[in-house]
């Protein structure tokens, strides 16, 4: 499987925490990345469209509260969870390889 793009990776990671609507995904990505990655609405929905077409994300009915009537909710499908896990494994192997070369991420230093 080809490596996931950063936008896809962030969206999948956000949805790994449970079903969310579009704006909640944007906020979550912002938080995940320490305000480094700010997805725009166009990029987000383009990504969600691709992910739904490839079966990695599916739409849900959401919690059904009155305030969220206009919103659409999305969640990871089983295939999406597997794709995310495969990508995290790939990145983990990459980090281990980098460690082997003496390039240690600052956050991992004792």
């Amino acid at each position: 499987m080809a490596p996931l793009t950063p936008a896809v990776m962030h969206v999948l990671l956000s949805l790994a925490g449970g079903e969310r609507h579009g704006y909640a995904i944007l906020k979550d990505v912002l938080q995940q990345t320490n305000h480094q990655v700010r997805l725009g609405p166009g990029t987000l929905y383009g990504t969600l469209q691709r992910l739904m077409e490839s079966g990695l994300v599916e739409e849900t009915d959401g919690p059904g509260s009155e305030a969220d009537e206009r919103r659409r909710f999305y969640r990871l499908s089983r295939a999406g969870r597997e794709a995310l896990k495969a990508e995290v494994d790939r990145l983990d192997a990459l980090v281990r390889h980098a460690r082997g070369r003496g390039i240690v991420p600052r956050a991992s230093r004792p």
């Binding site: 579009g22 944007l26 725009g40 609405p41 929905y45 969600l48 206009r70 919103r71």
Partner: protein, 147 residues
């Protein structure tokens, strides 16, 4: 579709019409909702800079989305057209607006020139819109010939 409140949202709503129809039908309402919320937040978060950084970010994101979405439809020629058409139209209008001597609005001496310029602008916009719509509506015919 919900009617957007702010001028920013109205402009963004209008610009969304440059996206392919399928994408717009599927996501425009929610994109506008997210835009509104992000705008509210930007207004509260950075009042010293105003909304200009937010507007620039949204414009860049939308331009990228328009290009990517048209490429996905298999009709990539529409991508540059969708970006260039509003830029050319707004540049033409801005140029025309600079050339309009506003004092003529009060007098009647050269009002014919003003009227001529306005009619020319409208005709140019109609011609450009006709070209784009023709390209769009002949798409199924092209598909039929390809098969």
């Amino acid at each position: 579709m919900r009617s957007p409140a702010s001028l920013d949202a109205r402009c963004y709503h209008a610009a969304l019409f440059l996206c392919p129809p399928a994408f717009r039908r599927e996501f425009a309402q929610e994109i506008l909702l997210v835009f509104d919320e992000a705008r509210q937040e930007a207004r509260i978060a950075a009042p010293q800079y105003g909304l200009w950084p937010f507007r620039a970010r949204m414009a860049a994101d939308l331009a990228g989305t328009i290009v990517r979405q048209w490429f996905r439809t298999g009709w990539p020629i529409m991508a540059p057209l969708a970006i260039l058409y509003p830029l050319a139209a707004s540049s033409a209008l801005a140029t025309l607006w600079r050339r309009i001597p506003l004092h003529m609005l009060r007098g009647t001496a050269d009002s014919d020139v003003l009227m001529l310029e306005l009619v020319a602008a409208v005709v140019l916009l109609i011609v450009a819109a006709t070209i784009i719509l023709t390209l769009w509506f002949t798409r199924p015919l092209l598909y039929r010939h390809r098969r």
